[in-house]
């Protein structure tokens, strides 16, 4: 009896909320594929709490408005095996009607680049329709920051503690950077997200940390204002000629490249630098991408490309995205394809170097 009552409520409730949402939407008509009345599933191979979730939740409603037929866009989470599970699932998808899209992240690319045995996916098979870059900022507690004057020479010999999610993750980039600067950083592994790392820093348990741009703006910038943290450097941004330039979101901060050049013993050429740069590109400027599955026809790719372009062309896009994502290139079309290429191709030497470094420094092997 009562169970059926509940079901009825649920159906009613759902219908009501759907009606409210639909009443605010505009009916659109366009060329390419029409998604009217359909539900687009945006699969994210992570859990609900990560950065990819934030990114997808930011885009999903905007994309829904911009796609022809204003389909409902739902974000579906498929976490597991460090995102390789979701990516392997997507690899097996064949294009059907354009209602499945996939959002990959740096953490999906790293296992691919490092030759993780669980990887059964091939980026070359997929069709990229949008790519989002991001940046990162390293920061220090105020007492240690006094010893930092644009070079890391005076920070040598300090015991640094860093809350890390694991050496084979995106944390590879900061860990390698600090090591190149000659800092002794002991990573405390096993934390669940960068937010926990920040909390460790705030509690005084960690004394060095980094956050991606959006998390830095939200979580660390207030600490900086209160005098509880001082930015050290940004990872930088990728310039037009492939060089590392200052991050447009943080134009006043030196980049790691500048700090490295000023620090004795740190080289901005050679295999160590090349390896760092290759993984930096995969992890930051080419961090998040949206794909249509293998076999998607040109008109579907065009429809999604156009929709993302329309989102980026919104008059308020710069404003709303600056807070949520930071000021980074949001790329479509050829630019996105080029990003995909630079983010998923790492020179063999860089790969070998990183694999050796992981093994010698942290005892991590991928087999």
């Amino acid at each position: 009896m009562s169970i059926t009552k509940i079901t009825r409520w649920m159906t009613l409730g759902f219908a009501a909320s759907a009606a409210i949402a639909f009443s605010t939407q505009v009916v659109a008509s366009s060329h390419g594929i029409d998604l009217k009345g359909k539900t687009v599933e945006w699969v994210i191979p992570f859990s609900e709490s990560g950065g990819s979730a934030k990114w997808a939740h930011f885009y999903a409603p905007l994309l829904s408005e911009a796609l022809p037929g204003s389909p409902t866009v739902v974000v579906k989470f498929m976490p597991g095996a460090g995102s390789t599970k979701g990516a392997n699932w997507f690899q097996k998808r064949k294009y059907k009607d354009g209602t499945t899209i996939f959002g990959s992240s740096g953490s999906t690319q790293f296992p691919y680049l490092l030759g993780d045995p669980r990887v059964k996916y091939e980026y070359g098979d997929w069709n990229v329709v949008m790519a989002s870059g991001t940046g990162g900022v390293a920061y220090l507690p105020p007492d240690l920051a006094k010893k930092f004057d644009g070079d890391a020479d005076d920070l040598k010999g300090i015991d640094f503690i860093y809350g890390s999610q694991g050496a084979t993750r995106l944390d590879l980039v900061p860990l390698l950077a600090w090591e190149m600067l000659g800092l002794t950083v002991e990573p405390v592994f096993g934390i669940k997200g960068r937010g926990d790392g920040r909390l460790m820093f705030e509690r005084g348990e960690a004394n060095i940390d980094y956050q991606t741009s959006s998390s830095y703006l939200k979580g660390v910038a207030p600490l900086v204002k209160e005098g509880k943290a001082v930015p050290m450097m940004s990872w930088g941004s990728l310039g037009a000629d492939g060089d590392i330039v200052r991050d447009p979101t943080f134009p006043d901060m030196p980049t790691f490249k500048e700090v490295c050049e000023a620090t004795a013993g740190c080289e901005t050429k050679g295999e160590q630098w090349d390896a760092w740069k290759a993984f930096f590109i995969a992890g930051f400027p080419a961090q998040k991408m949206v794909f249509l599955p293998n076999g998607a026809p040109a008109e579907a790719i065009a429809t999604y490309t156009k929709a993302f372009q329309a989102v980026h062309a919104r008059p308020d896009f710069a404003k709303i995205s600056a807070v949520r994502l930071g000021k980074y290139p949001q790329m479509t079309g050829d630019m996105a394809t080029a990003t995909l290429k630079s983010g998923t191709n790492v020179p063999a030497e860089a790969k070998t170097f990183v694999l050796n470094w992981l093994k010698e420094r942290y005892g991590v092997t991928l087999k």
């Binding site: 009562s2 409210i20 045995p117 503690i161 096993g190 348990e205």
Partner: protein
């Protein structure tokens, strides 16, 4: 600081924001959705919030917040239905409710248990909201005072509850808890990524087992199978005894207990990183310790329901503190809540409290109102829903199999989920049969990851502090909070061991022959030994110490148990075996034949997909096992499948695909993902 001067105007402002017809409508809508989702085991705040998230964007902020908070706030209220009526832990926060809630249902007092639970939930929720109001202004330094040593101590306090729930033989409880801890380490280690008791060729295992599956396997499957074998209603004489008024007055009689457990809920909820899964156990342990006559626990003591239920709703209020002021979600549903908050144009963090205190307080008001509406509705519904316990169980069983299979599949959306559910269920059946404490196992499992990570991280940081100076290190490890927690833990272990003998957390178990208990003990010992050597083979120091230590302790406990077995007569409690005498032994249906029904559903699912398998299973089961007429059978089967389709459809969930689906592409709901 002028606390009241800051809080009161903002509170009043928030009150006028929320008390608008439109906002209240959304709040009630959220509550209704939350109740409907929460009733199904395995589906909780995450599923519910994901459902409304696409619609939140563009909504008026207060309405959106009311909708989301309404939904989240009532999940720990409505998940009580499954815990009490079916013995299925509705979510991680109501595991302890099963221990006494389900026995009450079996006694025919389901309505009483439910209404006591809802009254406690309501009270806990309100108290949580009340504390949230003031706490949120001063919480930052307090939350920051909880470093890794403090969190480790809370985890250990949670583990110390094993002492109370261990059962008649403390050693067996230790072994059961170690088994839970070890099962919790299966898969990739968090620290270094080494594989433990798993391999990349079985990708499913590398992520470890999910709590939903372990909870249902350990608690629900053994009970469902046992009831099905006895072929009667859940309530022993198929009647409803004490009614819902009795439950409410039970709660009132234990109001102080309810207050204390609510406080426990708020405090544990405030600490980020602990999650909700330890709250109910700590509350249950506290309840047992502070009850004069402990003989009723495990066989239907109403205080055992009031304690955990007061704490788990209060936890939601506490959990909003780190979520709102640090932007760090304490749970999966809080993470989505943060996402929804961002869609409404607000970012969690200190600036939310300073700049938008009125908006923050609408969250508090929504929380309080949602608790009132939700608990009120549940109390009204409970006499009706409690009638389920008077239905012949054979009629309910296929629906329960359907629900737990579907819920298990949601955890990883893989056929491995079904295999894992069956395997853990089998383990649960044996733990129950030989009287190994299932609560101890579950506590171990739930706290395994935290215990390992916190101890390593705290150790690493302490070492670095000691390098700076012995005083810095000691100050870090032995903070006042750690010392207080340490004292509580020691006291609770001593009290626990003293009292454990009088607490039958799962009722009286008869003793019988020596052979079966001995074989089970030997198998368990082999598992421990294999785990030990598996862990010893890991090269990374950080990833091997924890499982090696636990496996070692467990093996020693087992050896001591073996020694006792070799000396004791076969009337000793160590030879507890439910198949030797009593209810299970006299059941009209055999264990394996009953279990085979469940296996059939799973095997069929792997062949033809879930919905087709369900159709076949329903018809065959209801016709042959339950002996219904053809018309009844078809009607019930159609109803069951329609129910699951409506639910999965509205939540945008998929069903397990089978072999058939890899060859033929079928439309939803028949097709796969």
């Amino acid at each position: 600081m002028d606390l009241l001067g800051t809080a009161l105007p903002a509170l009043a402002e928030a009150f006028s924001l929320i008390l608008q017809p439109q906002q209240l409508t959304f709040l009630v809508l959220g509550v209704l959705l939350g109740l409907s989702v929460g009733v199904f085991p395995g589906l909780g705040g995450i599923a519910g919030l994901s459902l409304v998230l696409p619609f939140v964007y563009g909504m008026e902020p207060v309405s959106g917040l009311a909708l989301m908070v309404g939904l989240v706030a009532v999940i720990p209220t409505s998940d009580t239905f499954a815990s009490v009526l079916m013995g299925i832990p509705g979510s991680s926060a109501s595991q302890a409710t099963v221990l006494d809630g389900f026995p009450l249902a079996k006694k025919g007092e389901a309505a009483r248990a439910l209404s006591a639970a809802f009254a406690s939930s309501l009270f806990g929720g309100l108290l949580g909201a009340f504390f949230l109001t003031f706490f949120i202004l001063i919480a930052r330094p307090i939350v920051l005072a909880f470093g890794l040593p403090e969190m480790l101590m809370i985890t250990i306090l949670g583990l110390s509850m094993v002492a109370i729930l261990a059962g008649r033989l403390p050693l067996k409880g230790v072994a059961a808890a170690c088994m839970g801890l070890l099962v919790g380490t299966i898969g990739e280690a968090d620290a270094g990524g080494s594989l433990r008791m798993s391999s990349y060729s079985i990708p499913y295992l590398t992520d470890g087992l999910q709590l939903v599956i372990v909870g249902m396997g350990i608690f629900a499957i053994p009970e469902i199978i046992s009831l099905l074998r006895q072929d009667r209603a859940i309530s022993r004489d198929a009647t409803l005894g004490a009614g819902w008024l009795k439950g409410v007055s039970d709660w009132w009689d234990n109001i102080w207990l309810s207050i204390r457990c609510s406080l426990i809920g708020v405090i544990v909820g405030v600490i980020p990183g602990l999650g909700g899964s330890v709250v109910d156990w700590i509350a249950y342990g506290h309840t047992v310790q502070t009850t004069g006559d402990k003989s009723g626990f495990g066989s239907g003591e109403i205080r055992g329901v009031i304690g955990p239920e007061s704490s788990n709703n209060a936890k939601e209020g506490g959990g909003l503190v780190p979520t709102l002021i640090f932007g760090i979600p304490g749970s999966g549903s809080m993470a989505i809540f943060l996402g929804g908050l961002a869609l409404l144009g607000y970012d969690a963090g200190p600036q939310l409290i300073t700049n938008d205190l009125d908006i923050t307080y609408t969250v508090v008001w929504s929380l309080a109102l949602a608790n009132v509406v939700g608990a009120g509705l549940c109390i009204l519904l409970s006499p009706g829903i409690a009638r389920l316990t008077t239905i012949r169980f054979t009629m309910l069983a296929p629906f329960l199999f359907m629900m737990i299979t579907f819920a298990a599949f949601q955890s990883r959306q893989s056929l491995g989920d079904l295999v894992a559910l069956f395997a853990v269920g089998l383990l649960g059946i044996f733990l129950r049969r030989f009287d190994w404490s299932r609560p101890a196992f579950l506590i171990g499992f739930v706290l395994s990851t935290q215990a390992e990570n916190f101890s390593f991280q705290a150790y690493q940081i302490a070492m670095s502090k000691f390098r700076r100076g012995a005083d810095v290190g000691l100050e870090y490890i032995f903070s006042p909070i750690v010392i207080i927690l340490l004292i509580i833990t020691v006291v609770s272990i001593i009290v626990g061991i003293r009292q454990a003998k009088s607490i039958m957390s799962e009722g009286e178990v008869p003793v019988g022959g020596k052979r079966a208990p001995l074989i089970f003990l030997l198998i368990v010992t082999v598992y421990f030994v294999v785990s030990y050597f598996d862990a010893a083979a890991i090269t990374m120091q950080t990833d091997r110490i924890f499982p090696m230590t636990i496996a070692f302790v467990a093996t020693v406990s087992c050896l001591l148990l073996l020694i006792r077995m070799s000396r004791a007569p076969n009337t000793d409690v160590i030879f507890a075996d439910r198949e030797a005498a009593g209810e299970d032994a006299e059941a009209p249906q055999g264990l394996w034949r009953t279990l085979a029904w469940f296996a059939i559903l799973l095997i069929l699912s792997s062949l033809v997909g879930f919905i087709l398998a369900l159709a076949i299973f329903f018809v065959v089961f209801l016709r042959i096992r339950a002996g219904r007429t053809w018309s009844r059978t078809l009607l019930l089967a159609a109803g069951g499948i329609a129910l699951i389709c409506i639910m999965a459809g509205s939540l945008n969930r998929d069903f397990p695909p089978g072999l058939l689906q890899t060859f033929v592409e079928l439309p939803w709901p028949l097709g796969g993902i």
